[in-house]
């Protein structure tokens, strides 16, 4: 007989922490340990550096190679964007891989432990790789391309924390949404990250966008995270209207957009999970 008054294993904070740690190890094994270490290192370095170098060459063709604030703007934006893509792709692909490829999602969901710590832990390897890409891109910028770091930790640290929380919120929303999709769920993170790349002022000032799109840019937490991080890293923000705002206003807008996005994303994820259980989508395979 089960003692009904005893705590159910799997729902305490300690159990959640254990799920989280186990999921981190699993995510890392899938992401890296099964690969050739040399290839994995090359892949980790070459992809973000090439993405940044495309922008550097474009810049140098047009400006004749003069180092300037716009080049710093480009490099910092290209570097930090790795985090957005890493978080979105990490969360979405973790949930899809576990459902479609490894077919473990249903087993994880039926344990008493919440899916949430597992999902966060499972995606952390990709987030870690993306953070390495940020450091590498910035290092190349500083060492070879004339990027001058003027660190303002009072701005950078809270901006990084808030930005990461906001981006994870968006990733959790996407992960829940992709569980509902029957077709092309794998393409959504890239499509959404691509659209956000366009409207967040990552590699060009928001002013260049068509007027109808600019309000979306102003509403995105990623726009304010990038802006605050630029100011915290190189001491200046974007060219254009956003760059003219005070540091306090930028941080306030980052905080406000994060406070709106995160609870909405968590509520949406809970709703998506309920819908997935109800419709039997947790063990669905689309063959895509």
């Amino acid at each position: 007989m089960t003692d009904r008054s005893a705590a159910v294993r799997g729902i305490s904070l300690a159990d959640a922490w254990r799920s989280f740690r186990t999921a981190i190890r699993l995510g890392w094994a899938i992401e890296a340990n099964w690969s050739d270490p040399f290839l994995f290192a090359v892949y980790t370095m070459a992809k973000p550096l090439s993405a940044a170098m495309i922008l550097v060459v474009m810049y140098s063709i047009i400006t004749g190679g003069q180092a300037g604030k716009f080049l710093q703007f480009l490099i910092v934006g290209a570097a930090l964007w790795n985090v957005v893509y890493g978080v979105l792709a990490g969360l979405v692909q973790s949930i899809l891989e576990d459902r479609e490829r490894y077919r473990m999602m249903k087993y994880v969901v039926v344990t008493p432990s919440s899916l949430f710590p597992f999902l966060l832990g499972r995606s952390l390897a990709r987030v870690g790789v993306s953070l390495v890409a940020v450091v590498l891109t910035l290092a190349v910028g500083v060492l070879f391309l004339g990027v001058e770091l003027r660190l303002n930790l009072l701005l950078l640290v809270p901006a990084s924390v808030l930005g990461l929380v906001a981006v994870m919120g968006l990733g959790i929303f996407m992960a829940g949404w992709c569980l509902q999709l029957r077709q092309e769920a794998w393409s959504y993170p890239e499509a959404i990250a691509g659209a956000m790349y366009l409207v967040s002022g990552a590699i060009f000032p928001v002013n260049v966008l068509p007027a109808v799109v600019q309000p979306i840019a102003w509403a995105m937490p990623t726009t304010w995270w990038l802006e605050a991080s630029r100011r915290g890293l190189v001491g200046h923000g974007s060219p254009g209207d956003i760059g003219a705002l005070s540091d306090g206003t930028v941080m306030l807008l980052l905080l406000a957009s994060t406070v709106v996005v995160v609870p909405l994303a968590l509520a949406a994820f809970a709703w998506f999970m309920r819908a997935a259980r109800h419709k039997g989508l947790l063990d669905m395979t689309t063959g895509s």
Binding site: D36, L39, M53, I54, M58, S187, A202, F204, P205
Partner: protein, 289 residues
């Protein structure tokens, strides 16, 4: 048949007439091309994503050039590069990585046991992929040109068509070669496919003329069909100083032709090796390897 009377391949075992071999291989080409062509109408969501994703990338680079105050032909370079990117993505994900996916889905062993040549399967994939991707590339060019107001000055449309077709042969030949190599490298397929994106966009000059890469551009022209084809097409579509190529168009066409032969022969040799390995070791068709 071999000396001991045991066929080494299903083709030997079939012991068909030459006519039947040709017909079976042509049917394999058509059969493998069919799902990709018919998929154009059956999977509208593919169409959406495969046009949207390159278009988003194109838009980002167009806005960078606009923010930098670049001459308008650079916007055209980006749009043309974005269209050609669709072919490269098709080659990487739907040619190079395809055998690996087929293995995961359990189809690969059927290919190895069927009495047709694996080159026919790859040719079918290439033809189907080319048709499918052409529609997407055309959509990127039309939408990009309309939205960003790109104008083209094509004085020799037939030569341009020739360069395009000549680019596709080594491009898909490279995909065929990679299909065997990806399978040999096993679990790295996903990482390899990722590795062949941004670094190739950079080295291939997808968003800028490759002569700006300096000494590296010579190496790129000698090895990467996407880069050579794009450089030649830019010279024909946007004549002017900005699109000055690494080499004259005629020389680049010759390079593409040589590349086509090398990659197709390489693909055939790699497939032969792969087939031998698959039969001898029996591991290549195992999932998760």
């Amino acid at each position: 048949m071999s000396e001991v009377g045991i066929a080494r391949t299903p083709r030997e075992a079939a012991d068909w007439s030459r006519g039947r071999v040709v017909r079976a291989n042509l049917r394999a080409v058509a059969g493998r091309a069919y799902p990709r062509i018919i998929g154009l109408t059956r999977e509208p969501s593919w169409l959406f994503f495969e046009i949207l994703l390159p278009f988003l990338a194109v838009s980002a680079f167009v806005f960078v050039y606009r923010a930098l105050g670049a001459p308008e032909e650079f916007v055209g370079f980006v749009v043309l590069g974005g269209a050609m990117t669709a072919f490269w993505l098709n080659v990487v994900w739907m040619m190079a990585a395809q055998f690996y996916w087929e293995k995961d889905q359990g189809n690969l062993e059927l290919y190895f046991t069927a009495p047709m040549h694996l080159m026919s399967i790859l040719a079918g994939m290439a033809i189907g992929g080319l048709v499918m991707t052409s529609s997407r590339a055309l959509a990127v060019i039309v939408i990009g040109s309309l939205v960003y107001g790109v104008s083209y000055q094509i004085a020799e449309p037939l030569l341009l068509a020739g360069v395009f077709l000549l680019t596709m042969i080594p491009l898909y030949g490279l995909g065929m070669l990679f299909a065997s190599l990806f399978l040999l490298w096993g679990r790295e397929a996903f990482h390899l496919a990722q590795l062949l994106q941004e670094p190739i966009y950079f080295l291939g000059g997808v968003n800028f003329p490759i002569r700006h890469l300096g000494a590296v551009s010579a190496l790129v022209v000698a090895t990467l069909p996407l880069a050579v084809g794009l450089d030649a097409m830019r010279q024909l579509v946007f004549p002017g100083q900005a699109s000055e190529g690494v080499l004259p168009v005629a020389t680049e066409m010759l390079i593409l032709a040589v590349m086509g032969v090398i990659f197709l022969v390489g693909a055939r040799l790699a497939l032969r090796y792969l087939e031998t390995l698959a039969r001898r070791e029996g591991r290549l068709t195992l999932r998760w390897q």
